[in-house]
Amino acid sequence: GQQVMQIPQYQHVQEGEDFTTYCNSSTTLSNIQWYKQRPGGHPVFLIQLVKSGEVKKQKRLTFQFGEAKKNSSLHITATQTTDVGTYFCPAYGSSNTGKLIFGQGTTLQVKP
């Protein structure tokens, strides 16, 4: 099955600084999704990327899908304390029937 490695595992930033997390796969992905889980909360879907080289923006968040569809990144501009949480980029199982394979994610802490 597919597995996506995510780095860094933890990141502490000062409020207002930028933040980037990266996901890398050894195999080509049909698509990639990003989820955010706040402390004490549950994963919440952020976005899905499907096309090679795709870039999507949501306010201060920019998502990219690599040209080879093997990597993806999430960049947050001017972090705020509301950005605190763990960001996941799960891969789909080989049968692509909706089984999501989660890594440990990247946990972001923002110091006010």
């Binding site: 909360g41 549950h42 994963p43 049968s95 692509n96 909706g98 089984k99 999501l100 440990q104």
Partner: protein, 113 residues
Amino acid sequence: DAGVTQSPTHLIKTRGQQVTLRCSPKSGHDTVSWYQQALGQGPQFIFQYYEEEERQRGNFPDRFSGHQFPNYSSELNVNALLLGDSALYLCASSPSGGGNIQYFGAGTRLSVL
């Protein structure tokens, strides 16, 4: 339009007991997946139900079983509880077909003493 709902929100059991967790999917969704999330880890896939049958299963022992009802709601049963079963159990629903977005419920926090 209600999202995914899970019950109970918290549960405390002792080793050896059995537990049943419940999930109602988002309206219009017919596929339900269950995940176990230990503290500090990402969710781990337990199994997925579609058309009242288990369609996929993760690397979990037979103590973990489930059921899906005609109204698409689902139950997760865990027998002979172990201390290591303490975790947040998440239910996610999605419409039928592969590669769809999954909507997670708030989870059930299970503590095994």
